[in-house]
């Protein structure tokens, strides 16, 4: 049984106006569910209003729908974070590792010949990437604390361990050399600087890929049900 345009409009109104949903993608998904479920109940003899009420109850009423939307937004945010680190991993452990080597080579050469030019960029890049890594580390600790070991394999590894260890180790050695006179040779400092700059650039490239993907996904039109 197919619903009429008026009935589909009533479902749309029910979700948007009566139950205050805002997320277009979720509304589109739920509209389809409501439409199929209501049509089936009407085929079994229920009136439109009774069928709509039954389906609405299955979603836990308005409270259930709003909670679902909140949860949906949270999961979307988490999915983007996972995507970001997934892209970073492709540069470190995945198919894009030659690009990382290439970036490393270019930056090493630039550092060797025109070091001053890169210093400002290095400072700006380091600040952002360090914050992102620390945030990821804190989130992982909080996540492990909350789940008490019952961890899903896909979320147990939100960042890239190789990336994080290489970055923090290089940063630690440079800091020790600068403030505690660690006695690193000039070649060693150059290498560590290059590693940090390469990782920063890899992170920014992965971030750019994520933003592009998110924008492309958001541009996909979601047709209205009525």
């Amino acid at each position: 049984m197919n619903l009429t345009t008026t009935q589909l409009a009533a479902i749309d109104r029910h979700l948007r106006q009566d139950n205050w949903l805002l997320n277009q993608a979720l509304i589109a998904e739920l509209t389809d569910h409501y439409a199929v479920a209501v049509a089936e109940k009407m085929s079994a003899g229920a009136t439109f209003d009774v069928a709509l009420y039954d389906v609405h109850t299955g979603f836990g009423g308005r409270k259930g729908l709003l909670l679902m939307e909140e949860n949906y937004q949270t999961q979307n945010y988490r999915a983007l974070q996972l995507l970001e680190w997934k892209e970073v991993r492709t540069f470190i452990e995945g198919s894009r590792w030659p690009i990382t080597i290439l970036i490393f080579g270019i930056i090493y050469g630039l550092n060797h010949y025109v070091q001053d030019v890169l210093n400002v960029g290095l400072m700006a890049g380091m600040g952002f990437v360090s914050c992102a890594l620390l945030a990821s580390l804190v989130q992982t600790i909080v996540f492990f604390y909350r789940t008490r070991g019952e961890v899903d394999v896909t979320v147990a590894r939100p960042s890239s361990p190789i990336f994080s260890v290489a970055y923090f180790l290089a940063l630690l050695l440079i800091s020790l050399n600068k403030y505690v006179s660690f006695g690193l040779p000039a070649g060693g400092v150059l290498l560590l600087n290059t590693i940090i700059e390469t990782l920063c650039l890899v992170y920014y490239t992965a971030l750019a890929i994520c933003i592009r993907r998110a924008l492309l996904a958001s541009r996909k039109p979601i047709p209205k049900s009525a």
Partner: protein, 127 residues
């Protein structure tokens, strides 16, 4: 006695509690058997397989689907059906291996539970 029958003999609150822990496994298993499914189809499939003994509420199904999608175990594609956007869920490569692992884990757990329940039942039978 099938597991669905076991659920059916319980009160709805306990049933929901048991179902909550295994919902993601049910979804993964269904999607492993079929290429792709949409939300309403999943609820109906569960109802059909269990002959109506088990019903997944929409309020539980969609958050579970969205979480599995965010975890990278499910991927989605949207198609226009009857003028509406229908979102189909299917397993990713990681999802396929997760489905196999989780079903095996749940089976092992159920076997252990069965052993305990049988042991308890035997203990009640006078020698």
């Amino acid at each position: 006695m099938s597991n669905s029958r076991i659920f059916a003999t319980m009160n709805p609150t306990n049933n929901a509690q048991l179902l909550k822990g295994s919902l993601s496994v049910i979804i993964l298993k269904l999607l492993e058997d079929r290429d792709r499914m949409y939300g309403y189809e999943i609820t109906q499939q569960v109802k059909a397989i269990t002959e109506g003994d088990m019903a997944i509420t929409e309020g539980a199904l969609y958050p579970a689907l969205h979480k599995l999608e965010a975890d990278g175990l499910l991927t989605t594609e949207t198609e226009i059906v009857d003028g509406r956007a229908r979102k189909y869920y299917s397993l990713t490569k990681t999802g396929h291996s997760a489905a196999t692992d989780r079903v095996a884990e749940l089976r092992a757990f159920m076997n252990t539970l069965q052993t305990i329940l049988n042991q308890s039942t035997n203990a009640l039978i006078p020698a």
